[in-house]
Protein backbone atom coordinates (compact mmCIF):
# COMPACT_ATOMS: atom_id res chain seq x y z
CA UNK A 1 0.00 0.00 0.00
CA UNK A 2 1.31 3.48 -0.81
CA UNK A 3 2.27 5.70 2.13
CA UNK A 4 1.22 9.35 2.64
CA UNK A 5 4.72 10.48 1.62
CA UNK A 6 4.18 9.01 -1.81
CA UNK A 7 0.68 9.95 -2.95
CA UNK A 8 -2.92 9.60 -1.93
CA UNK A 9 -4.77 6.53 -3.04
CA UNK A 10 -7.56 6.82 -5.50
CA UNK A 11 -10.99 5.62 -4.44
CA UNK A 12 -10.59 2.59 -6.68
CA UNK A 13 -7.24 1.70 -5.16
CA UNK A 14 -8.62 2.07 -1.64
CA UNK A 15 -11.56 -0.15 -2.52
CA UNK A 16 -9.28 -2.75 -4.06
CA UNK A 17 -7.01 -2.67 -1.03
CA UNK A 18 -9.94 -2.93 1.39
CA UNK A 19 -11.38 -5.83 -0.56
CA UNK A 20 -8.09 -7.70 -0.65
CA UNK A 21 -7.70 -7.36 3.12
CA UNK A 22 -11.31 -8.32 3.73
CA UNK A 23 -10.74 -11.37 1.56
CA UNK A 24 -7.80 -12.35 3.76
CA UNK A 25 -9.92 -12.01 6.90
CA UNK A 26 -12.70 -14.07 5.34
CA UNK A 27 -10.27 -16.76 4.26
CA UNK A 28 -8.76 -16.88 7.74
CA UNK A 29 -12.20 -17.20 9.32
CA UNK A 30 -13.16 -19.87 6.83
CA UNK A 31 -10.04 -21.80 7.71
CA UNK A 32 -10.97 -21.67 11.39
CA UNK A 33 -14.47 -22.93 10.60
CA UNK A 34 -13.16 -25.72 8.43
CA UNK A 35 -10.94 -27.07 11.13
CA UNK A 36 -13.78 -27.26 13.65
CA UNK A 37 -16.47 -29.68 12.67
CA UNK A 38 -19.99 -28.29 12.72
CA UNK A 39 -18.79 -24.90 13.91
CA UNK A 40 -20.61 -22.83 11.26
CA UNK A 41 -23.98 -24.11 12.42
CA UNK A 42 -23.06 -23.69 16.07
CA UNK A 43 -21.82 -20.12 15.63
CA UNK A 44 -24.60 -18.91 13.35
CA UNK A 45 -27.17 -20.34 15.75
CA UNK A 46 -25.53 -18.61 18.71
CA UNK A 47 -25.31 -15.32 16.83
CA UNK A 48 -28.83 -15.50 15.47
CA UNK A 49 -27.87 -15.20 11.80
CA UNK A 50 -28.73 -17.50 8.92
CA UNK A 51 -26.41 -20.42 8.17
CA UNK A 52 -25.60 -18.80 4.82
CA UNK A 53 -24.35 -15.57 6.41
CA UNK A 54 -20.69 -16.42 6.09
CA UNK A 55 -21.11 -17.93 2.65
CA UNK A 56 -22.74 -14.70 1.44
CA UNK A 57 -19.93 -12.69 3.00
CA UNK A 58 -17.43 -14.73 1.11
CA UNK A 59 -19.12 -14.03 -2.16
CA UNK A 60 -19.11 -10.32 -1.40
CA UNK A 61 -22.89 -10.05 -1.36
CA UNK A 62 -22.40 -8.66 2.11
CA UNK A 63 -19.39 -7.34 3.96
CA UNK A 64 -18.49 -9.27 7.06
CA UNK A 65 -19.69 -7.22 10.04
CA UNK A 66 -16.95 -6.53 12.57
CA UNK A 67 -19.21 -7.10 15.55
CA UNK A 68 -20.35 -10.44 14.21
CA UNK A 69 -16.77 -11.35 13.39
CA UNK A 70 -15.67 -10.70 16.98
CA UNK A 71 -18.65 -12.57 18.36
CA UNK A 72 -17.79 -15.47 16.05
CA UNK A 73 -14.22 -15.50 17.31
CA UNK A 74 -15.51 -15.50 20.88
CA UNK A 75 -17.74 -18.46 20.07
CA UNK A 76 -14.80 -20.29 18.50
CA UNK A 77 -12.61 -19.34 21.49
CA UNK A 78 -10.04 -17.70 19.24
CA UNK A 79 -7.96 -14.80 20.50
CA UNK A 80 -8.77 -11.89 18.11
CA UNK A 81 -5.21 -10.58 18.29
CA UNK A 82 -3.79 -13.91 17.16
CA UNK A 83 -6.51 -14.23 14.54
CA UNK A 84 -5.76 -10.86 12.96
CA UNK A 85 -2.03 -11.38 13.16
CA UNK A 86 -2.44 -14.64 11.30
CA UNK A 87 -4.99 -13.23 8.86
CA UNK A 88 -3.45 -9.86 8.05
CA UNK A 89 0.14 -10.20 9.12
CA UNK A 90 2.86 -10.38 6.50
CA UNK A 91 2.96 -13.55 4.49
CA UNK A 92 4.63 -16.17 6.64
CA UNK A 93 8.30 -15.53 5.98
CA UNK A 94 9.38 -18.72 7.71
CA UNK A 95 7.22 -20.92 5.51
CA UNK A 96 7.98 -18.89 2.41
CA UNK A 97 11.70 -19.29 3.04
CA UNK A 98 11.36 -22.99 3.75
CA UNK A 99 9.45 -23.47 0.51
CA UNK A 100 12.22 -21.95 -1.59
CA UNK A 101 14.42 -24.36 -3.56
CA UNK A 102 17.77 -24.88 -1.85
CA UNK A 103 19.58 -25.22 -5.14
CA UNK A 104 19.10 -25.44 -8.91
CA UNK A 105 16.72 -28.10 -10.24
CA UNK A 106 18.17 -31.58 -9.89
CA UNK A 107 18.61 -33.85 -12.87
CA UNK A 108 15.35 -35.62 -12.03
CA UNK A 109 13.47 -32.31 -11.84
CA UNK A 110 14.84 -31.32 -15.22
CA UNK A 111 13.88 -34.65 -16.71
CA UNK A 112 10.34 -34.72 -15.33
CA UNK A 113 9.45 -31.02 -15.54
CA UNK A 114 11.09 -30.50 -18.95
CA UNK A 115 9.74 -27.37 -20.61
CA UNK A 116 7.75 -26.39 -17.51
CA UNK A 117 10.98 -25.08 -16.02
CA UNK A 118 11.41 -22.61 -18.87
CA UNK A 119 7.88 -21.23 -18.95
Amino acid sequence: MATSEERSLTDEEMDAYAESQLERVQQALKLEFQTRRGSVGRVTEALGVGEDYFRQSRHKKRDLGLKLLFRSLAQLKIDPLLFFLKALGPVDDELEKAEQPEGPPSEAVRRIAGRLLDE
Binding site: T35, R36, V109, R111, A113, L117
Partner: protein, 320 residues
Protein backbone atom coordinates in the same frame (compact mmCIF):
# COMPACT_ATOMS: atom_id res chain seq x y z
CA UNK B 1 2.01 -41.25 -19.11
CA UNK B 2 3.15 -44.76 -18.31
CA UNK B 3 1.35 -47.39 -20.32
CA UNK B 4 1.04 -49.54 -17.25
CA UNK B 5 0.00 -47.22 -14.46
CA UNK B 6 -2.27 -44.22 -14.06
CA UNK B 7 -1.19 -41.31 -11.88
CA UNK B 8 -3.46 -42.61 -9.11
CA UNK B 9 -1.91 -46.07 -9.32
CA UNK B 10 1.58 -44.59 -9.27
CA UNK B 11 0.65 -42.51 -6.23
CA UNK B 12 -0.53 -45.65 -4.46
CA UNK B 13 2.56 -47.61 -5.50
CA UNK B 14 4.86 -45.05 -3.91
CA UNK B 15 3.57 -45.98 -0.46
CA UNK B 16 4.81 -49.56 -0.67
CA UNK B 17 7.44 -49.46 -3.43
CA UNK B 18 8.86 -45.93 -3.52
CA UNK B 19 11.96 -46.88 -5.50
CA UNK B 20 9.95 -48.56 -8.24
CA UNK B 21 7.40 -45.73 -8.27
CA UNK B 22 10.20 -43.17 -8.66
CA UNK B 23 11.64 -45.09 -11.63
CA UNK B 24 8.22 -45.28 -13.27
CA UNK B 25 7.61 -41.58 -12.69
CA UNK B 26 10.87 -40.76 -14.47
CA UNK B 27 9.94 -43.04 -17.37
CA UNK B 28 6.41 -41.68 -17.60
CA UNK B 29 7.60 -38.09 -17.91
CA UNK B 30 8.75 -38.69 -21.50
CA UNK B 31 5.24 -38.95 -22.90
CA UNK B 32 3.43 -36.79 -20.38
CA UNK B 33 1.57 -33.52 -20.93
CA UNK B 34 2.22 -30.46 -18.76
CA UNK B 35 -0.38 -31.28 -16.14
CA UNK B 36 0.86 -34.85 -15.83
CA UNK B 37 4.46 -33.68 -15.52
CA UNK B 38 3.49 -31.51 -12.59
CA UNK B 39 1.73 -34.44 -10.91
CA UNK B 40 4.71 -36.71 -11.60
CA UNK B 41 7.03 -34.20 -9.91
CA UNK B 42 4.88 -34.46 -6.79
CA UNK B 43 4.90 -38.24 -6.82
CA UNK B 44 8.63 -38.43 -7.52
CA UNK B 45 9.37 -35.94 -4.72
CA UNK B 46 7.31 -37.93 -2.22
CA UNK B 47 9.13 -41.12 -3.29
CA UNK B 48 12.45 -39.47 -2.49
CA UNK B 49 11.13 -38.44 0.90
CA UNK B 50 9.95 -41.97 1.56
CA UNK B 51 13.44 -43.18 0.63
CA UNK B 52 14.81 -40.72 3.24
CA UNK B 53 16.49 -38.60 0.54
CA UNK B 54 15.15 -35.43 2.09
CA UNK B 55 17.35 -32.91 0.26
CA UNK B 56 16.38 -34.34 -3.14
CA UNK B 57 12.74 -34.49 -2.04
CA UNK B 58 12.88 -30.83 -1.05
CA UNK B 59 14.55 -29.89 -4.32
CA UNK B 60 11.91 -31.66 -6.41
CA UNK B 61 8.92 -30.45 -4.42
CA UNK B 62 10.05 -26.86 -4.01
CA UNK B 63 10.73 -26.53 -7.75
CA UNK B 64 7.36 -28.17 -8.37
CA UNK B 65 5.69 -25.61 -6.11
CA UNK B 66 7.46 -22.79 -7.90
CA UNK B 67 6.16 -24.05 -11.25
CA UNK B 68 2.63 -24.48 -9.86
CA UNK B 69 2.70 -20.92 -8.45
CA UNK B 70 3.87 -19.56 -11.79
CA UNK B 71 1.08 -21.39 -13.60
CA UNK B 72 -1.50 -20.19 -11.06
CA UNK B 73 -2.50 -23.80 -10.39
CA UNK B 74 -3.83 -23.44 -6.86
CA UNK B 75 -4.73 -27.09 -6.44
CA UNK B 76 -1.23 -28.18 -7.45
CA UNK B 77 0.23 -25.59 -5.03
CA UNK B 78 -1.77 -27.18 -2.23
CA UNK B 79 -0.59 -30.64 -3.26
CA UNK B 80 3.08 -29.61 -3.28
CA UNK B 81 2.71 -27.84 0.07
CA UNK B 82 1.20 -30.97 1.60
CA UNK B 83 4.07 -33.08 0.32
CA UNK B 84 6.64 -30.54 1.51
CA UNK B 85 4.97 -30.71 4.93
CA UNK B 86 6.16 -34.32 5.27
CA UNK B 87 9.71 -33.29 4.38
CA UNK B 88 9.59 -30.56 7.05
CA UNK B 89 8.21 -33.07 9.58
CA UNK B 90 10.94 -35.59 8.77
CA UNK B 91 13.46 -32.84 9.39
CA UNK B 92 11.85 -32.33 12.79
CA UNK B 93 10.14 -29.07 11.77
CA UNK B 94 6.61 -29.87 12.87
CA UNK B 95 5.52 -26.23 13.16
CA UNK B 96 6.54 -25.66 9.56
CA UNK B 97 4.68 -28.80 8.54
CA UNK B 98 1.57 -27.41 10.22
CA UNK B 99 1.97 -24.08 8.43
CA UNK B 100 2.38 -25.88 5.12
CA UNK B 101 -0.85 -27.81 5.76
CA UNK B 102 -2.66 -24.57 6.65
CA UNK B 103 -1.51 -22.98 3.42
CA UNK B 104 -2.50 -26.09 1.49
CA UNK B 105 -6.01 -25.89 2.97
CA UNK B 106 -6.31 -22.31 1.71
CA UNK B 107 -4.95 -23.32 -1.71
CA UNK B 108 -7.48 -26.12 -2.10
CA UNK B 109 -10.28 -23.91 -0.81
CA UNK B 110 -9.49 -21.24 -3.39
CA UNK B 111 -9.33 -23.95 -6.06
CA UNK B 112 -12.74 -25.21 -4.86
CA UNK B 113 -11.19 -28.64 -4.45
CA UNK B 114 -13.04 -30.10 -1.47
CA UNK B 115 -11.28 -33.47 -1.59
CA UNK B 116 -7.85 -31.82 -1.75
CA UNK B 117 -8.82 -29.64 1.19
CA UNK B 118 -10.00 -32.66 3.16
CA UNK B 119 -6.71 -34.45 2.48
CA UNK B 120 -4.82 -31.38 3.71
CA UNK B 121 -6.99 -31.39 6.84
CA UNK B 122 -5.88 -34.98 7.52
CA UNK B 123 -2.26 -33.80 7.35
CA UNK B 124 -3.04 -30.83 9.59
CA UNK B 125 -4.50 -33.26 12.10
CA UNK B 126 -1.28 -35.34 12.08
CA UNK B 127 0.91 -32.33 12.76
CA UNK B 128 -1.41 -31.02 15.49
CA UNK B 129 -1.28 -34.40 17.19
CA UNK B 130 2.51 -34.52 17.03
CA UNK B 131 2.54 -31.01 18.52
CA UNK B 132 0.51 -32.37 21.48
CA UNK B 133 -2.66 -30.53 20.38
CA UNK B 134 -4.79 -33.66 20.44
CA UNK B 135 -8.21 -32.00 20.88
CA UNK B 136 -7.64 -29.85 17.80
CA UNK B 137 -6.29 -32.88 15.94
CA UNK B 138 -9.52 -34.76 16.63
CA UNK B 139 -11.67 -31.88 15.36
CA UNK B 140 -9.49 -31.63 12.30
CA UNK B 141 -9.76 -35.32 11.38
CA UNK B 142 -13.53 -35.22 11.89
CA UNK B 143 -13.78 -32.16 9.67
CA UNK B 144 -11.72 -33.99 7.03
CA UNK B 145 -13.99 -37.05 7.10
CA UNK B 146 -17.02 -34.94 6.10
CA UNK B 147 -15.55 -34.32 2.66
CA UNK B 148 -13.56 -37.51 2.08
CA UNK B 149 -15.35 -39.79 -0.38
CA UNK B 150 -14.94 -43.57 -0.50
CA UNK B 151 -12.93 -43.08 -3.70
CA UNK B 152 -9.93 -41.93 -1.64
CA UNK B 153 -9.59 -44.89 0.75
CA UNK B 154 -6.05 -44.05 1.88
CA UNK B 155 -6.95 -40.63 3.24
CA UNK B 156 -10.18 -41.92 4.71
CA UNK B 157 -8.34 -44.80 6.36
CA UNK B 158 -5.68 -42.40 7.67
CA UNK B 159 -8.23 -40.08 9.29
CA UNK B 160 -10.18 -42.97 10.84
CA UNK B 161 -7.13 -44.79 12.20
CA UNK B 162 -5.74 -41.53 13.51
CA UNK B 163 -9.01 -40.89 15.36
CA UNK B 164 -8.92 -44.42 16.76
CA UNK B 165 -5.38 -43.83 17.93
CA UNK B 166 -6.17 -40.39 19.46
CA UNK B 167 -9.20 -41.70 21.37
CA UNK B 168 -7.21 -44.67 22.63
CA UNK B 169 -4.59 -42.24 23.93
CA UNK B 170 -7.35 -40.29 25.68
CA UNK B 171 -8.68 -43.51 27.21
CA UNK B 172 -12.02 -43.38 25.37
CA UNK B 173 -11.90 -46.97 24.15
CA UNK B 174 -15.51 -47.03 22.88
CA UNK B 175 -14.77 -44.21 20.45
CA UNK B 176 -11.39 -45.73 19.61
CA UNK B 177 -13.08 -49.03 18.80
CA UNK B 178 -15.75 -47.33 16.72
CA UNK B 179 -13.22 -45.55 14.52
CA UNK B 180 -11.04 -48.65 14.22
CA UNK B 181 -14.09 -50.59 13.02
CA UNK B 182 -14.89 -47.87 10.48
CA UNK B 183 -11.32 -48.07 9.16
CA UNK B 184 -11.61 -51.77 8.26
CA UNK B 185 -13.36 -51.15 4.94
CA UNK B 186 -10.98 -48.54 3.48
CA UNK B 187 -8.01 -50.56 4.79
CA UNK B 188 -9.11 -53.55 2.68
CA UNK B 189 -8.40 -51.53 -0.45
CA UNK B 190 -4.87 -50.74 0.67
CA UNK B 191 -1.69 -52.74 1.16
CA UNK B 192 -0.49 -54.91 3.99
CA UNK B 193 1.14 -52.09 6.01
CA UNK B 194 -2.10 -50.12 6.60
CA UNK B 195 -3.85 -53.36 7.54
CA UNK B 196 -1.01 -54.06 9.96
CA UNK B 197 -1.43 -50.63 11.58
CA UNK B 198 -5.12 -51.24 12.01
CA UNK B 199 -4.67 -54.72 13.53
CA UNK B 200 -2.08 -53.27 15.89
CA UNK B 201 -4.46 -50.49 16.96
CA UNK B 202 -7.19 -53.06 17.56
CA UNK B 203 -4.78 -55.15 19.65
CA UNK B 204 -4.04 -52.15 21.85
CA UNK B 205 -7.73 -51.31 22.20
CA UNK B 206 -8.59 -54.93 23.04
CA UNK B 207 -5.83 -54.98 25.66
CA UNK B 208 -7.12 -51.71 27.10
CA UNK B 209 -10.60 -53.20 27.37
CA UNK B 210 -9.28 -56.33 29.09
CA UNK B 211 -10.19 -58.57 26.14
CA UNK B 212 -6.97 -60.47 26.47
CA UNK B 213 -7.53 -63.46 24.17
CA UNK B 214 -8.34 -61.32 21.09
CA UNK B 215 -5.56 -58.89 22.03
CA UNK B 216 -3.06 -61.78 22.08
CA UNK B 217 -4.00 -63.03 18.63
CA UNK B 218 -4.09 -59.47 17.22
CA UNK B 219 -0.59 -58.73 18.57
CA UNK B 220 0.68 -62.03 17.16
CA UNK B 221 -0.84 -61.15 13.77
CA UNK B 222 0.78 -57.70 13.93
CA UNK B 223 4.18 -59.28 14.52
CA UNK B 224 3.67 -61.65 11.58
CA UNK B 225 2.69 -58.79 9.26
CA UNK B 226 5.63 -56.57 10.19
CA UNK B 227 8.03 -59.47 9.97
CA UNK B 228 6.82 -60.12 6.42
CA UNK B 229 7.09 -56.40 5.62
CA UNK B 230 10.65 -56.36 6.96
CA UNK B 231 9.98 -53.53 9.40
CA UNK B 232 11.75 -54.95 12.44
CA UNK B 233 11.20 -52.04 14.82
CA UNK B 234 7.44 -52.29 14.40
CA UNK B 235 7.58 -56.09 14.69
CA UNK B 236 9.80 -55.80 17.78
CA UNK B 237 7.54 -53.33 19.53
CA UNK B 238 4.41 -55.41 18.88
CA UNK B 239 6.26 -58.56 20.03
CA UNK B 240 7.31 -57.00 23.33
CA UNK B 241 3.76 -55.69 23.83
CA UNK B 242 2.65 -59.31 23.42
CA UNK B 243 5.21 -60.41 26.04
CA UNK B 244 3.78 -57.80 28.42
CA UNK B 245 0.23 -58.96 27.79
CA UNK B 246 1.18 -62.56 28.65
CA UNK B 247 3.17 -61.49 31.70
CA UNK B 248 0.27 -59.45 33.04
CA UNK B 249 -1.90 -62.55 32.80
CA UNK B 250 0.76 -64.33 34.88
CA UNK B 251 1.42 -66.68 31.97
CA UNK B 252 5.12 -66.43 32.74
CA UNK B 253 6.29 -69.46 30.75
CA UNK B 254 4.57 -68.22 27.59
CA UNK B 255 5.94 -64.71 28.20
CA UNK B 256 9.48 -66.11 28.45
CA UNK B 257 9.01 -68.28 25.36
CA UNK B 258 7.70 -65.30 23.38
CA UNK B 259 10.52 -63.05 24.59
CA UNK B 260 13.21 -65.55 23.62
CA UNK B 261 11.54 -66.21 20.26
CA UNK B 262 12.29 -62.69 19.00
CA UNK B 263 15.98 -63.37 18.49
CA UNK B 264 15.29 -63.24 14.74
CA UNK B 265 15.03 -59.44 15.14
CA UNK B 266 18.73 -59.11 15.95
CA UNK B 267 19.94 -59.50 12.38
CA UNK B 268 17.58 -56.94 10.78
CA UNK B 269 18.17 -54.58 13.72
CA UNK B 270 21.94 -54.87 13.77
CA UNK B 271 22.36 -51.25 12.63
CA UNK B 272 20.09 -49.99 15.37
CA UNK B 273 22.28 -50.38 18.43
CA UNK B 274 19.73 -49.18 20.99
CA UNK B 275 16.93 -51.47 19.80
CA UNK B 276 19.16 -54.52 19.34
CA UNK B 277 20.81 -54.05 22.77
CA UNK B 278 17.36 -53.77 24.33
CA UNK B 279 16.22 -56.99 22.70
CA UNK B 280 19.41 -58.83 23.66
CA UNK B 281 18.92 -57.73 27.27
CA UNK B 282 15.31 -58.92 27.22
CA UNK B 283 16.24 -62.31 25.77
CA UNK B 284 19.19 -62.89 28.12
CA UNK B 285 17.22 -61.97 31.23
CA UNK B 286 14.22 -64.03 30.13
CA UNK B 287 16.51 -67.03 29.64
CA UNK B 288 17.96 -66.46 33.10
CA UNK B 289 14.50 -66.37 34.69
CA UNK B 290 14.81 -62.63 35.41
CA UNK B 291 11.95 -61.36 33.30
CA UNK B 292 10.02 -58.61 35.13
CA UNK B 293 7.26 -56.18 34.21
CA UNK B 294 9.68 -53.31 34.78
CA UNK B 295 12.13 -54.81 32.31
CA UNK B 296 9.39 -55.32 29.71
CA UNK B 297 8.04 -51.77 30.13
CA UNK B 298 11.52 -50.37 29.87
CA UNK B 299 12.15 -52.40 26.68
CA UNK B 300 8.91 -51.05 25.19
CA UNK B 301 9.96 -47.47 25.93
CA UNK B 302 13.43 -48.00 24.45
CA UNK B 303 12.04 -49.52 21.24
CA UNK B 304 9.46 -46.74 21.00
CA UNK B 305 12.24 -44.16 21.28
CA UNK B 306 14.33 -45.93 18.63
CA UNK B 307 11.27 -46.23 16.43
CA UNK B 308 10.35 -42.54 16.76
CA UNK B 309 13.89 -41.54 15.93
CA UNK B 310 13.88 -43.85 12.90
CA UNK B 311 10.45 -42.77 11.69
CA UNK B 312 11.31 -39.11 12.00
CA UNK B 313 13.84 -39.78 9.31
CA UNK B 314 11.95 -42.22 7.18
CA UNK B 315 8.19 -42.19 7.53
CA UNK B 316 5.27 -41.54 9.82
CA UNK B 317 3.05 -44.16 11.37
CA UNK B 318 -0.22 -43.57 9.61
CA UNK B 319 0.55 -41.94 6.32
CA UNK B 320 3.44 -40.96 4.21
Amino acid sequence: MSERLTLEELEELRHCEPRRAAELALEAAAGADDEERLALLGIYGSCQRKLAKLDEAHNVLSHGLRIALRRGDRSACGDFRQRLGYVFADRGELRLALKAADRAIIDHTLARDSVGRAKALVDRGFWLYHLDRIDEAIECQKAALIDLPDSVPRSKYSALVALGHYYRKLGDLDEADRYAALAVEPAEELGLAPRGHLIWLRAEIAEGRGKLAPAQSLYAETVRIYRSLETPLDAGLAAVQLVRLLYRQRRFDEAVTTATSIAWLLEPLKRNRVASATIVDLIVKSDAGKLTLGLIDSAIQEIKRARTHHKRRVCSKFKS
